[in-house]
């Protein structure tokens, strides 16, 4: 168990230390925070705009991190030879594969939580902005403090990461990712205190996207053990294209737009439907790693 946990932790650290992960996070945060601030394309629906941007960022950028983060973690392990060192230790090959996949998923969860929390901050900012606009007759805008918090989640981590790296030799990317995660949690916590319905409404649809990412991640892990990075990415891309027409069912933006939410029971059903696919990919991956020569 300890060896399993050790691989999970190291893989999560690896994915969160990737410059690519930080770049994609910044892109996702920019999409979440900046898109709804341009009032000329809100069409009077600032909150919906904020929600759509946030969830789109979570879906698209989250998929990129889950797929590429996982492929890179596995391929680097195989191509750099560190897998030889690991598999010479008392851990089964199947256990090693599962632990790496779980570590990549843990890193994805940190990424997804950061994007979702920032999106919640922006959604709340749009709601308050709409209330103020209705009272003053002005154009609806993001509420200033929420916008400031969103921008802070984007920029402050870079400064903190640079300072910690310069004076304490901390890893820049990891420090930045951690700071962004903590700041976004604080911002979302403050917004949830202002609007009690914020979390109950938005957590179920976000959970649907996490379920979807888990399927892509397990497929990417299986492909990365057997094929080179480009081929594995192409395979994962093909799977994504197959899934895309059905993503509307997961998204449920209409339910949210009408003031409702997705029922947790629906999330459970989606997870049940996704579980066989994810499990099948994991079993295939374990078989691939069990059969391969490691050299």
């Amino acid at each position: 168990m300890r060896s399993f946990a050790s691989v999970v932790k190291a893989t999560a650290l690896e994915v969160l230390s990737e410059p690519l992960t930080l770049l994609v996070l910044l892109a996702a945060l920019a999409l979440s925070v900046l898109a709804p601030t341009f009032h000329y394309h809100q069409f009077g629906e600032a909150t919906r705009m904020a929600r759509d941007s946030g969830f789109s960022a979570l879906f698209v950028c989250g998929t990129v991190v889950s797929v590429f983060g996982t492929i890179r973690a596995f391929r680097r392990e195989i191509e750099s030879g560190t897998i030889q060192m690991a598999l010479a230790h008392p851990i089964s090959r199947g256990g090693f594969f599962l632990a790496k996949a779980l570590g990549a998923f843990a890193a994805y969860l940190v990424f997804a939580a950061t994007v979702l929390c920032t999106a919640l901050d922006v959604i709340e900012g749009a709601r308050i902005g709409g209330v103020i606009a209705a009272r003053t007759g002005d154009i609806a805008r993001l509420y200033g403090p929420c916008l400031a918090a969103g921008v802070a989640v984007m920029l402050v981590p870079l400064v903190v990461g640079a300072v910690l790296n310069r004076f304490l030799r901390f890893r820049f990317v990891l420090s930045s990712m951690t700071t962004a995660f903590v700041l976004s949690l604080v911002a979302a916590g403050a917004c949830a205190a202002l609007d009690r319905g914020l979390l109950p409404r938005h957590l179920p649809p976000a959970a649907l996207l996490v379920v979807l990412a888990a399927v892509f991640l397990s497929a990417s892990a299986a492909l990365a053990v057997r094929f080179r990075a480009n081929a594995a990415a192409a395979g994962a891309g093909a799977l994504f294209a197959l899934f895309l027409p059905f993503v509307g069912n997961y998204y449920m933006s209409d339910a949210l737009a009408n003031g409702g939410s997705v029922h947790w029971g629906y999330v459970g059903l989606a997870a049940l439907a996704a579980a066989p696919a994810a499990l099948a990919f994991l079993v295939v991956g374990m078989r691939f790693i069990g059969e391969r020569d490691v050299s």
């Binding site: 300890r2 050790s6 190291a10 690896e14 230790h89 008392p90």
Partner: protein, 254 residues
């Protein structure tokens, strides 16, 4: 298993590498049999491409033999129980560049199943032993080859192995570090640890090993105790493998 039993046994082992279409490409190991006894330092010597690393990887369970049988502590090399008792230093220091030296040791301590407190204490001891305490919190991606080698060696020792497998242990080290590694291996062996090492540096093997096997073309060309060779290891090696090697320098030198 009792104390006199063989730790590693290979019986008529063959390894043929195949391409994508399963066509045989290389016979890396061809009918090799050997045994490593408890407490001895066994050297697997041979020129480049003689099958030393392939043999080591089959012993570690990283490669499956095409034919024959490999046993480690009387068990399959893939068995977790067998691997709990070994430490491995690969030919190149394969390390995660994003981890610090201390995190690297804690990672391998975790893989060995050491409890957190014990892992931290063991990591501290090994960092001190390898002279890396001052750079323990620096990521190993920025380390020199020699420093990375020390981290890899410490990683191999962190689980207090009974069998230490060293693939070219002095590869990339300067003369002082080479001497330190040789002293360390001798000290470990005198403490009762079984050591299996490969090398193409005959002086290293002569200094450290109790018994050697010379591989050539994936086969055993000779085997014997160092103190029974009756000649220097270099002379013995050249007699068995020949001095032609891969290079024919004479025409250029003349």
């Amino acid at each position: 298993m009792n104390e006199t039993e063989d730790v590693v046994v290979l019986s008529d082992v063959r390894k043929t590498f195949r391409d994508f279409w399963l066509r045989p490409t290389v016979n890396a190991v061809d009918g090799l049999s050997l045994s490593v006894r408890r407490g001895e330092v066994f050297g697997l010597l041979g020129p480049n491409g003689s099958g030393k690393s392939t043999t080591i990887k089959m012993i570690l369970g990283l490669l499956s033999p095409s034919a024959g049988k490999v046993s480690l502590f009387g068990l399959s090399p893939r068995s977790i129980e067998a691997r709990r008792r070994l430490g491995y230093l690969p030919e190149l220091s394969y390390l995660h560049p994003f981890l610090t030296a201390k995190e690297t040791l804690l990672y391998y301590a975790g893989l060995c199943g050491l409890a957190r407190g014990e892992a931290k204490e063991r990591a501290r001891q090994l960092l001190e032993m390898t002279g890396l305490s001052a750079v323990a919190s620096r990521t190993v991606g920025g380390f020199s080859k020699g420093m990375a080698r020390r981290v890899a060696l410490a990683s191999a020792l962190i689980g207090r192995p009974e069998l230490l497998v060293l693939d070219e242990p002095t590869s990339g080290l300067d003369p002082i570090s080479t001497k330190e590694v040789k002293t360390l291996v001798k000290a470990l062996a005198s403490g009762g640890m079984t050591v299996l090492m490969t090398s193409h540096l005959l002086a290293d093997a002569e200094d450290i090993c109790d018994r050697v096997m010379i591989l050539d073309g994936g086969k055993s060309a000779a085997e014997g105790r160092i103190d029974e060779l009756g000649t220097s290891l270099e002379a013995f090696f050249l007699a068995k493998v020949g001095d032609a090697g891969d290079f024919r320098l004479a025409p250029f030198l003349s």
